[in-house]
């Protein structure tokens, strides 16, 4: 029907309805069996569907298993550490866990050959330990159900898989941080969200009420978008540090092609264009030495390679994931949407609705988005790692913001001088500005307001003028560079003694 709603006019503006499949009703792979699923106009039967998805999974993962990516040679898979799987309970991570189990746990046993004995190196597992980590959001948002028990039950169906449940408030818990990094956890950072500069002060001893700190932090954020994106960022960084704790070299996420397209567009909508590459695949190196590696040897050896974050379902659409789960009768606990009942929709939610709607009319949209974004690289210099999300931050962000949105009668150049001259002092009592240490997206999360403030998250939690930031921010604002790290930085210039 035409845009005015009158089918009698503008008939030439109508688009002909495209058939759901391009060629025939039989499977395009085996050319024989009648099709059971249409994937972007191509028809597949159920029997061909499973190898297809498993192939896409391995193609996206295996070239990146070895420390130096060198092609999809299965026999030569030798990761530097263990495998951590970020589990949300959604359909993507449920399918991912099933695929990891089939490919690297169950199959290993089934493939055992008699010759060479059971201890033959051929029978070594690719991953010595497979750990599933779930971050519970139940306490962060009102009227949320705690799903830890349900998730634990799902994970318990898989043998040889360890389960690490976390709560999102652990991000504010000094004891959680101390467990991984020892006493380097001592200072915490409090920040004032009143203005763009984000005045910050280190506090010592740290707050011992992680839930209170979390709720106060979320309640003080200016928009529902900020709350959703802060939670996502907290989960991501919690998983990264858990990877360090569990000596994992790889962190797998169950992001499907559809979810990846959504998160790419949503990230662009929140100013995270500089981190497009990390949104697809990321190498993260912890810059604080874990307590378990106090002698520094393993730190300089294994962990310097960091954690590789891979999304092995990046070529598998949400529909395919759903079919896999359905046909395999997997128990999907389900994910709640971001936000809370009274809040307006956030940018992530709007993007999800938009992409899902668009995909109905333009079925190639999600893969086009992902393929286009894979052709992009960051432009400009990196100023360092954002202290909040731990992703590379672009240089000159504050100057750019001051120039584009003039907020005072002083010339923009004055504003630039103001922000760039605010180098933070490093002693405990020093007041500093957080803004220069943040990436564009995190700074926007903390400062960008809407015409109307969001409805309160928890009636009992009032907005505070300053809030505690996650445990990893303080140590990075006043990090003492260790001898090992110094040596690593100048290693290539040192002559052998």
């Amino acid at each position: 029907m035409s845009s005015c709603g009158n089918p009698a006019t503008e008939s030439d503006a109508l688009m002909p309805r495209r058939p759901k499949f391009d060629k025939g009703k039989n499977c395009v792979k085996c050319k024989d069996a009648p099709g059971n699923i249409v994937i972007r106009h191509a028809v597949y039967c159920k029997a061909c569907f499973f190898p297809l998805v498993a192939f896409k999974f391995r193609r996206a993962l295996e070239p990146f298993v070895n420390p130096k990516p060198d092609g999809p040679r299965r026999t030569a898979l030798k990761p530097a550490g263990n495998l951590l799987l970020g589990f949300s309970g959604g359909v993507g991570s449920t399918v991912l866990l099933d695929l990891v189990n089939r490919s690297y746990i169950v199959n290993q046993k089934a493939e055992l050959r008699r010759d060479g004995g059971k201890d033959h190196p051929r029978h070594d597992k690719v991953w010595k330990r497979v750990i599933v980590c779930y971050v519970e959001l139940g306490d962060a948002l009102p009227r949320r159900k705690d799903k830890t028990a349900e998730i634990a039950e799902v994970v318990s169906h898989y043998e040889d898989v360890e389960f690490v449940p976390l709560r999102v408030q652990d991000a504010f818990d000094p004891s959680w941080w101390r467990r991984i990094y020892g006493d380097q956890a001592l200072p915490q950072l409090r920040v004032s969200l009143e203005n763009e500069e984000l005045a910050a002060v280190l506090t010592n001893p740290p707050s011992t009420e992680p839930l209170g700190s979390l709720r106060s932090y979320l309640s003080s954020l200016p928009t529902p978008t900020a709350v959703a994106s802060a939670l996502q960022s907290l989960i991501r960084v919690l998983l990264l540090h858990t990877a360090v704790e569990t000596k994992s070299s790889h962190l797998l996420l169950g992001t499907s092609l559809t979810s990846l397209a959504i998160s790419l567009i949503s990230g662009i909508g929140q100013g995270a264009g500089f981190n497009i590459e990390q949104e697809i695949q990321e190498e993260w190196v912890p810059d604080i030495q874990p307590a378990s590696d106090s002698n520094g040897s393993e730190w300089l050896g294994g962990y310097q390679k960091g954690v590789r974050i891979i999304r092995p379902l990046r070529d598998v659409g949400l529909k395919e994931c759903a079919f896999w789960a359905w046909w395999e009768k997997l128990q999907v606990v389900g994910e709640d949407r971001a936000g809370w009942p009274e809040s307006r929709q956030d940018i992530g939610g709007l993007t999800k609705d938009f992409i899902m709607r668009l995909e109905k009319d333009y079925p190639s949209t999600v893969s086009t988005i992902v393929r286009t974004c894979a052709k992009l690289s960051p432009r400009g210099d990196v100023s360092g790692k954002c202290v909040l999300c731990e992703r590379p931050a672009q240089e000159g962000v504050q100057e750019w913001k001051a120039r584009i949105s003039v907020r005072t009668t002083a010339q923009a150049t004055d504003a630039v001088v103001l922000s760039s001259s605010s180098t933070p002092r490093t002693d405990d009592a020093a007041a500093a500005q957080l803004a220069p240490h943040l990436c564009y997206a995190c700074h926007t999360t903390l400062t960008s307001r809407n015409a109307r403030p969001p409805p309160p998250l928890f009636p009992s939690v009032s907005k505070e003028s300053s809030v505690t930031l996650p445990a990893w921010v303080g140590p990075r604002m006043r990090r003492k560079v260790g001898e090992g790290e110094m040596k690593a930085a100048i290693q290539e210039f040192l002559l052998e003694e």
């Binding site: 929140q270 938009f354 992009l376 120039r403 010339q411 997206a441 809407n450």
Partner: protein, 358 residues
């Protein structure tokens, strides 16, 4: 709500909430920040140098009307030393362009700037009314967009200026970033956030309103009492752009900084070098001399399709092949006059405010 003081000068009473920052400010401070941001944009990109001949293109819509006013104001205030012109394109859409051209003519008198109006009919022998009569509304934006781009360059050449500045606002740019990602147009994605584009032998174009919100442009026109015509084209069923625009408006409602955040994202990435190497090299159209990525430029292909009654030849590859199979173009085919670069390609500016339609 009790009256509040302006968040910027802290003395006058605030009368508006700034769409871009959410600050409550007074009218004078709004003019100050709006104009200063455009000035910052011009300075940062080093768009002008004294003595440049700058033609301000005008559609008679809000963007071009405000742009003409701001360009004149900034030129006087900061002594840019520019010679300003107005350039309008008449697409030949009855009832759409006629009224808005009256606004442009009034601007010509108000600002004392020479005006050149160039029509599609004069240049291509086709008005948009005639094109739509042949092809219908589907894909008509492709014709209009391609024809307009070339018409602007040719108008600039007639005015003897060699630099075109378009009046796209922040909303247009953000929308284009999203749309180019969603339809995989990597070449356009790479250049759509550039404030200034220029090939080796092409006319320079810039966008001084690149960071100006559409709502603030309307606000500026309202408080300055500038009148303009709505330039929503009666032939624009570009569904895909419509989707992107509606989505952008939703994002802006969720968080007003979204528009500027998308532009920042667009500026923070670039096309990987390996991908750039696969892009087509620019050449000159063998028929009309205009820049092109193929032997024939897009406008000549579209015109040939129209003339030979195969309008889709310029729109889809399949239709193009079908037309090629019909044989070469007849000798008496109507063509676009050969393009002559302005003398010496002086670095001048033409500011033209058109909402992109394709």
């Amino acid at each position: 709500m009790p009256p509040k003081n302006c968040a910027i000068c802290n003395s006058a009473r605030a009368i508006l909430k700034r769409p871009k920052t959410g600050q409550l400010i007074c009218k004078d401070c709004f003019f100050y920040v709006f104009e200063t941001e455009v000035h910052n944009t011009i300075l940062e990109a080093e768009l002008f140098k004294p003595g440049d001949r700058v033609a301000i293109g005008a559609s008679g819509g809000k963007d071009s009307t405000v742009l003409a006013h701001v360009m004149k104001t900034l030129n006087d205030r900061y002594n840019y030393g520019l010679e300003l012109f107005l350039l309008s394109i008449d697409e030949g859409i009855t009832g759409y362009r006629d009224d808005s051209l009256e606004t442009v003519k009034r601007n010509q008198e108000q600002y004392d700037m020479p005006l050149k109006i160039l029509s599609y009919d004069e240049l291509y022998g086709w008005t948009m009314d005639a094109i739509v009569a042949q092809i219908g509304k589907k894909n008509n934006c492709t014709f209009c967009g391609v024809f307009r781009r070339q018409a602007l360059d040719r108008g600039a050449a007639i005015l003897d200026v060699d630099h075109i500045v378009t009046g796209h606002n922040a909303d247009d740019i953000a929308e284009t970033v999203l749309m180019n990602i969603m339809r995989g147009d990597i070449a356009r994605l790479g250049r759509c956030t550039s404030i200034c584009t220029q090939g080796e032998d092409t006319i320079k174009r810039s966008k001084p309103f690149k960071y100006a919100y559409e709502k603030e442009i309307v606000m500026y026109a309202y408080f300055k009492k500038l009148d303009y015509f709505s330039t929503e084209c009666i032939y624009s069923p570009d569904a895909y752009r419509g989707h992107a625009r509606a989505f952008l408006k939703d994002l802006e409602a969720a968080r007003p900084s979204a528009i500027i955040d998308i532009i920042h994202s667009g500026e923070a990435f670039e096309i990987k070098e390996v991908v750039k190497a696969t892009q087509k090299l620019q050449q000159t159209c063998k028929r009309c001399g205009y820049m092109s990525s193929n032997e024939l430029c897009k406008a000549c292909t579209l015109l040939e399709g129209l003339e030979r009654g195969m309008a889709n030849a310029g729109v889809t590859d399949r239709a193009r092949k079908r037309m090629d199979a019909e044989g070469p173009a007849p000798e008496n085919l109507r063509t676009i006059p050969f393009f002559q670069q302005p003398n010496g390609l002086r670095r001048t500016e033409i500011a033209i405010a058109y909402t992109p339609s394709s």
